[in-house]
């Protein structure tokens, strides 16, 4: 009686050994390290580690080790944060053209662990320091832009087909096209319906006019929103990568939010400037014939629009855009070889290059302007409710005479400083945002606070664990020791699962672990109290053990399933810290059921099973 078959014991042993193996990497410390990636137009090659070693030797910075990471990156390790910073400086100074660096922390795991794919728990920003930003994507603006685009496309199509319409106006989210008579309207309807299948186009007669009403169906709107979010994530990822932060994470949250996490980063101001600017450039010809004075007075010539330069000088530009930011595939900052002033070097895609070449060939000797367009979103409180307004800022940043036809690559000058050239290049390179964004949440955690949080969390786990272990040993004696072993194994398994899933451990997550330590003994307590009861009722020790485990089982399941329900609800509704807490709570409950029911039973069986007993130490 009270014996487990061999396979069951082996299974339990196997799980525990696997747990120990998975949890093991967490015992290794973290080295201050530098992540090295190739700069634009360069690659990490076989010679790269040697180059970096040489640069560090020159600067007399001791290197602990250098290794290749996935995705063509190098990782250089150092003994102290001071050496890490000096090393970064040295690499930036001598090799900045070829390599980019980012400060990071990296576990110093032995090679076999890494080959097995073992890893440490990943720490949340509240434990390692860094910046956490939640970005809201303005979906209304994305839809607005889509409707605007459709208006233009409908207009073009009707004109191309010489279908005469009276007016084309917007009515909320719908587009209204008025026609002179029913016949033209029907012709227009046929044409538009064939070309724009995604639009919902309905003919009607409104106040005596023949009208086509084009609306965006719900599914189409959803598609536009999804696209806007996806495009923004891609763009933000490009921008963030340019910031030089190791292991950045950019993820979608819900229908309209993006979470950006930058471990180790400390300057939210710079991050926000880069993230928040929804800028693009447009190249337009200058209207040299129209009267600027008339335009300022409110009568711009047909086909032209009034702009202002940065110093406030009004200027007339042709409405027709030559090239937009979408067609820019690369941009870098530098200096004009002739004047020495800051410049942005731009490369265009095929279509953009063709347009640029055609237009510049026809207009040699005429001036062309670069317009910088930025969407600035501000939130203001109106009657206690936040109201968002998006303002479009358009500025002419440079006007230059076309000396010769532009090709695929050309340069733009007229920027104030090299920093501005650098930032403009960064913005151009990373592409335009599909919709304006706004930062709605931002958390910056200093590195020392992160370390404090780890220390305090660890101290409270240890103290709590110690107290519970002591109590159980005194109160239940041998059985208490078994429960204690189960509890320690439970902690190891929780850490193992967290490491395996690469779930992020946060401060509330540590709180969840602490809580499960307190609650994990519950299953054992339920079993042991049952065993005591059975003994009091006069049953033999062996029968009592058997009955105790048996009868407590359904109670344990019921009690734990309800807590699991709470954990699942927490996980699905929570964000950030709450999710972290829910994950550890969930894992803790599952592992504690395993260790308390199967694990401690196996141990009790090994100690007491299969022999006659007169007394139990419980």
């Amino acid at each position: 009686m009270n014996r487990y078959p061999l396979w069951k014991n082996l299974l339990i042993l196997g799980v525990i050994l696997a747990g120990l193996l998975l949890a093991w990497p967490n015992l290794y410390s973290q080295d201050p390290s530098i992540e090295i990636t190739a700069a634009r137009g360069h690659e990490i090659s076989e010679a790269s580690p040697g180059e970096i070693k040489a640069a560090l030797e020159n600067a007399k910075v001791p290197l602990k080790g250098i290794e290749s990471l996935e995705g063509g990156k190098l990782l250089a390790r150092f003994d102290t944060p001071g050496e890490q910073l000096r090393a970064q400086e040295a690499i930036e100074r001598t090799l900045s053209e070829r390599y980019r660096t980012a400060l990071t922390q990296s576990a110093d795991l032995p090679g076999w662990m890494r080959r097995l794919g073992l890893n440490q728990m990943s720490l949340g920003l509240d434990l390692r320091g860094g910046i956490h930003v939640v970005i809201d994507v303005d979906m209304e603006a994305a839809l607005e832009q889509a409707v605007e685009r459709y208006s233009g496309d409908l207009r073009t199509l009707l004109r191309e087909d010489k279908i005469r319409y009276l007016t084309l106006t917007r009515d909320g989210a719908d587009i209204l096209i008025r026609f002179e008579d029913a016949a033209t309207r029907d012709a227009g309807e046929k044409k538009l319906k064939r070309e724009f299948r995604e639009l919902d186009i309905q003919p009607s007669e409104e106040s005596g006019a023949f009208v086509l009403r084009a609306a965006l169906p719900e599914t189409e709107q959803q598609k536009i929103k999804d696209f806007a979010l996806q495009q923004n994530i891609t763009t933000l990822r490009n921008r963030v990568n340019a910031l030089g932060v190791a292991e950045p994470s950019i993820a979608r949250q819900g229908d309209r939010r993006i979470v950006v996490e930058l471990p180790g980063a400390q300057d939210p101001g710079r991050l926000k400037e880069i993230l928040g600017a929804t800028a693009t450039l447009e190249y337009r010809l200058v209207d040299t014939e129209g009267s600027v004075a008339d335009a300022v007075a409110g009568r711009p010539p047909v086909g032209s629009k009034l702009y202002y330069e940065r110093n406030g000088t009004p200027i007339l530009l042709k409405r027709r855009v030559i090239v937009t930011g979408d067609q820019i595939i690369d941009a870098s900052a530098g200096f004009d070889s002739q004047s020495g002033s800051p410049a942005v070097f731009v490369s265009l895609d095929g279509q953009g290059a063709r347009r640029m070449r055609d237009v510049t060939t026809e207009n040699v000797g005429k001036p062309m302007a670069v317009v910088f367009i930025e969407n600035r979103t501000t939130t203001q409180m109106v009657d206690g409710k936040p109201v968002k307004t998006t303002r479009k800022v358009e500025e002419v940043i440079s006007v230059a005479t076309i000396r010769e036809p532009f090709g695929r690559r050309f340069q733009t000058t007229g920027l104030d400083s090299s920093t501005e050239a650098h930032d403009t290049a960064l913005l151009l390179r990373s592409g335009a945002l599909a919709a304006p964004i706004e930062i709605v949440e931002e958390r910056t955690i200093g590195p020392s606070l992160g370390q404090d949080n780890i220390d305090q969390g660890l101290a409270s786990v240890m103290l709590g664990l110690g107290l519970v272990l002591l109590f159980m040993a005194v109160y239940y004696r041998v059985f208490g020791l078994v429960a204690n072993l189960a509890l320690v194994v439970n902690l190891v398994l929780t850490i193992a699962v967290l490491s395996m899933l690469q779930a992020t451990l946060t401060l509330p997550g540590i709180a969840g672990i602490v809580l499960t330590i307190g609650m994990a003994v519950d299953a054992n307590v339920l079993i042991y109290e049952r065993i005591r009861e059975e003994i009091r009722n006069g049953n033999s020790p062996q029968a009592s053990i058997h009955a105790g485990f048996d009868k407590a089982f359904s109670t344990i399941v019921d009690a734990n399933v309800t807590t699991l329900i709470a954990a699942v609800v927490l996980f699905s509704f929570g964000t950030g810290p709450i999710k972290g807490f829910a994950v550890t709570l969930f894992i803790g409950i599952i592992t504690s059921m395993f260790t308390a029911i199967l694990g401690s039973r196996a141990l009790i069986n090994l100690i007491y099973g299969g022999r006659r007993l007169n007394k139990l130490a419980i």
Binding site: G464, D522, A566
Partner: protein
Amino acid sequence: MTQKRTINELNIDFMRRRKPAAWLSGVVLLVCLLSIVFRGFDFGLDFTGGTVIELGYAQPIELSEVRAVLETQGHGGATIQYFGSRTDILIRLAPQDGVEEDSAKLSDRVFQALSQAAQGQVELRRVEFVGPQVGEELREQGGLAVLFALIGILIYVALRFEWRFAVGAVVALIHDVLFTVGIFSLFQIQFDLTVLAAVLAVIGYSLNDTIVIFDRVRENFRRMRKGTVIGIMNRSINETLSRTIVTSGTTLLVLVALYVLGGETINGFALALIIGILVGTYSTIYVATAIVVWLGLSRDDLLPVKKEGAELDLLP
């Protein structure tokens, strides 16, 4: 071990005091409700939006000095408090107009000014900014989370036991949630996201307790052919009492460790759980079971027994 013998052989007539207990619970809950309605909560940054700046000074600093500097910056209305020790302070700034563009510059400006005043002997430990609409959403989500947890539990208990037990359990949970958040409202302790997580954990924990007793009640109804409903309830509570005390005890031990050592950010969390576990243990006995009795549970409700947990017997 004489002590455990006394616990196990106790036969306290818990049910006899269920009326005074109901009055007590009623009055306390009324006070909590009134406080929630009229005083509201001292919501943390997560829910209100705004900016929080945590600073670590090299030497102990007077709050009045910090306030003076903030006033020169036009932030007279800021909340300033010590955060764990006299060298650490926490500054809370309410959300402002034109939030988005300002927040980084705002915290920067405030920090620069304070840093200058302290001759650089200050470290910026943490800056958090939450937009007003996010705060509002979080409040809604939090309420929904509690609601869905309760519904899920209601269904599970009704399926595994009987509807009267489900009602008893859920009323006890609502009691615990109201009581815990009521304390936070009454004493105006800051209520943030981690506290909300704790409240949800309280639901899980308190239910744990309730289920253990219900399980015993069900078993005793089937085993003991004689005895009144009240008698069986009392028997069940007494039989599980030692377990209740041990488990609550170990959990409290750990939580007190967390409260003392876990640091200021986690204090609210630990406190909410400590309150929740104490009141949860009480409500299991006096609210959950009392409601089941009051709803008129009889032996017949539990007797047409399908074989209990037939599918579960296969497991251990």
